[in-house]
Symmetry: C2
Subunit: 122 residues, 2 copies
DNA sequence: GCCTTATTCAACCAGTGGGTTGACAATGAT
DNA sequence: ATCATTGTCAACCCACTGGTTGAATAAGGC
């Protein structure tokens, strides 16, 4: 359990940084080396290297070796796991709201107070 | 622009904490007060209050007032914005992989080296 | 072997984050 | 008015993070 938790911790934390989100956005288009990734930013090359490491530790990217280069590759599966988590609760919440809306609509219509309502809430 | 960025920063950072993800999971089922939310955890009441504030600043929850209580309500829209962001790039990446897979499959089939291939990569 | 390219590691600094405890504020009940 | 309930604010501690610079490693080119 701690395993999955840690992974989600790291994944969400990784995407909490705008630079790293930008890296992900660019890696969605094409794999790239750290050097290529670092080029557009003001910050030092090493800083970007660190950012990439954070993404890697979060499982969001993987790396292979090609001579001196270590091309960075986006891991779509990790992104999928994140949406899985979010969507589960979003759907739960929305389902609940819809039910509530329906309830309120029925009550407001004036033909309310039917005893069919048994959504215990306390 | 900084606006949306900040919001995503905060939202992802908020969900990077396991306690806060648990809060979200519970709020998906039902609204709750800070007191109710704090009850199951070992940590102090104030710590949970802080966590809720982080979720609120991230736009993930909203709060109303009911006498002394300030019930916390999950904001499904904020969750949706997060999935929007993630899914955009996941889809881009996956589309690219599919294209690449198809390319490799064609090449491997032996009827390869058709000049239709012009995915310049260098 | 020596030089270049690409990348990481190590040490450091300032800022932030999660936790604590203790005091304060807001609202309702008596 | 006083008390109880519910929650926030403030100050503090320690760990972690994002950034820096400088040195080290890894792999190829000559």
């Amino acid at each position: 359990m701690g395993d999955t938790t840690d992974q989600l911790d790291r994944a969400f934390a990784a995407l909490a940084d705008p630079t790293r989100r930008d890296l992900v956005a660019r890696l969605a288009i094409a794999d790239a080396t750290v050097g290529e990734l670092a080029e557009p930013y003001e910050m030092s090359f090493q800083a970007v290297s660190k950012h990439v490491k954070v993404l890697e530790d979060a499982g969001l990217v993987t790396r292979s070796r090609d001579a001196q280069r270590r091309p960075v590759h986006l891991n779509a599966e990790a992104l999928d796991q994140m949406t899985q988590w979010i969507e589960r609760y979003r759907r739960e919440a929305e389902a609940r709201f819809s039910r509530l809306d329906a309830l309120l609509a029925r009550t407001a219509e004036g033909d309310g107070n039917r005893p069919t309502i048994k959504e215990k809430e306390s």
